[in-house]
């Protein structure tokens, strides 16, 4: 399978196999006018198989969302056909309006237009807790 090389754009590499469509959704890539290629199950020396997303334009990417989904993803910024910048992600300390609290007793369940805020409370185990009620985020959401 051949996908044209990007001249100016972004390549999200080393996506855990199976996660690319979720990332496509959470980054709202369906709203872009440019070409976007989602490549699933590519061979990877590092991971065996991986997914890759190629975006044919340099756009603002929410790195917090990517870092939360999979901090092993590499973000390559391509300019004039060459990698001009390589961003390595890490788990963000805070997530704002990325995931929702599912605790029905939490104030976020009733308050209008309240920001959904989660804080990273345990980096080793990737545990985020709601800033309001301290309920653990549901990892299955991703």
């Amino acid at each position: 399978m051949k996908i044209d090389s990007i001249v100016n754009g972004i390549v999200l590499d080393h996506i855990k196999s199976g996660n690319s469509m979720r990332i496509y959704k959470y980054l709202n890539l369906e709203e872009l006018k440019c070409s976007v290629a989602v490549i699933r199950n590519c061979r990877s020396k590092k991971y065996g198989i991986k997914d890759v997303i190629k975006i044919d334009s340099i756009i603002d990417i929410n790195l917090d969302v990517l870092g939360y989904i999979d901090p092993n993803i590499t973000v390559n910024i391509i300019r004039d056909g060459k990698i001009s910048e390589k961003k390595h992600l890490e788990l963000p300390a805070k997530l704002v309006n990325v995931i929702k609290c599912k605790n029905p007793r939490c104030i976020t369940s009733i308050e209008q237009e309240i920001d959904q805020v989660f804080n990273l409370t345990d980096r080793e185990n990737r545990i985020y807790r709601c800033a309001y009620c301290e309920t653990k985020s549901d990892k299955e959401e991703f």
């Binding site: 605790n103 007793r105 939490c106 104030i107 976020t108 369940s109 009733i110 308050e111 209008q112 309240i114 709601c130 800033a131 309001y132 009620c133 301290e134 309920t135």
Partner: protein
């Protein structure tokens, strides 16, 4: 610190300052009787409470200030569908400080992000109730003269009790604290409390379902209510409920200077006969709650004596 949402918002030195101020208020009440003159406390209680609301109101009155507010959500605009933050933001133009109780967890925190006046969490559902913990700490300090080097027993519902988790959290900052957790297996202390507080700080603890066995070792016995609705079946509740009722007989082997505490309200978990025992401290806790809230109001209003 501008607001108080959780006991963890306070440093150990701030807790010690609050206790020192409360102790000074008890000894020298006249020094404080007009200190909050022309200041207003708003008590916004979106769900009913007897002790906490009246304690806050009495605290402000004894500081020479005045009180406005409501005691149920029916008597506020939230019954018309107003958001919590809008209600609190409105009240912040009328009051200098707000004490707020709400059934939803995190409601005071949400409100605090939109107001210019200090907000005290006076209980947000099953989540946090920091002024109860402060009242407990003041009581222990007044009874023992210290907050370190003692064995603290917790008895009853240790799984759902927010006051228990919060007090364990606060006391674990001090040296030489050991815990004895007495509960039926259905209501044991949650794993996350053990992992995040006890194991993390290498604090010694014992878990048991027998009250008598460890009674002689305790300096503090913190009783809680075993609630019928927490049990999966009625038979277990009936089998277990009497094991966790404190009676005069069960105190026979206890230390002479044991302090018996309870966040109240109690149902039947402490026999009324225990009230006359000099070791009973649970009504002192109520009184201390007012003094520590006075100290807290002064701290949040930046009023120095």
């Amino acid at each position: 610190m501008k607001h108080l949402m959780d006991i963890n918002d306070l440093t150990t030195s701030q807790i010690d300052d609050l206790i020192n101020t409360a102790n000074d208020i008890i000894v020298n009440p006249e020094k404080y009787q007009d200190i909050c003159k022309r200041k207003k406390l708003a008590t916004l209680f979106f769900e009913p409470s007897t002790r906490t609301r009246l304690s806050f109101e009495a605290a402000m009155v004894e500081l020479g200030g005045s009180v406005i507010g409501f005691s149920t959500s029916d008597s506020s605009s939230s019954s018309k569908g107003e958001s919590v933050t809008d209600t609190v933001q409105t009240v912040s133009f009328y009051a200098d400080i707000i004490a707020m109780r709400h059934p939803k967890e995190g409601a005071p925190l949400a409100a605090s992000r939109r107001t210019s006046v200090p907000i005290i969490n006076a209980g947000d559902g099953g989540h946090s109730h920091p002024t109860q913990t402060l009242a407990d700490l003041l009581t222990i300090h007044r009874e023992k003269g210290r907050l370190s080097n003692m064995t603290v027993g917790f008895c009853g519902d240790l799984k759902f009790g927010r006051t228990v988790h919060s007090l364990i959290n606060a006391l674990s900052r001090y040296d030489g604290i050991e815990y004895v957790f007495i509960s039926p297996k259905e209501l044991v202390i949650p794993d996350y409390v053990k992992a995040n507080i006890l194991d993390k700080n290498n604090i010694k603890y014992i878990e048991t379902n027998k009250m008598d066995e460890y009674m002689p070792s305790l300096d503090i016995l913190y009783m809680t209510r075993v609630q019928r609705e927490r049990f999966f079946n009625e038979a277990d509740y009936i089998r277990l409920k009497d094991s966790y009722i404190l009676t005069i007989d069960k105190l026979a082997k206890a230390k002479k200077d044991l302090s018996i505490m309870h966040p109240l309200p109690r149902v039947n978990e402490i026999s009324v006969k225990v009230d006359d025992d000099p070791r009973a401290c649970y009504f002192k806790q109520v009184q201390n709650g007012k003094y520590i809230r006075m100290a807290l109001i002064l701290m949040l209003l930046d009023i120095l004596v």
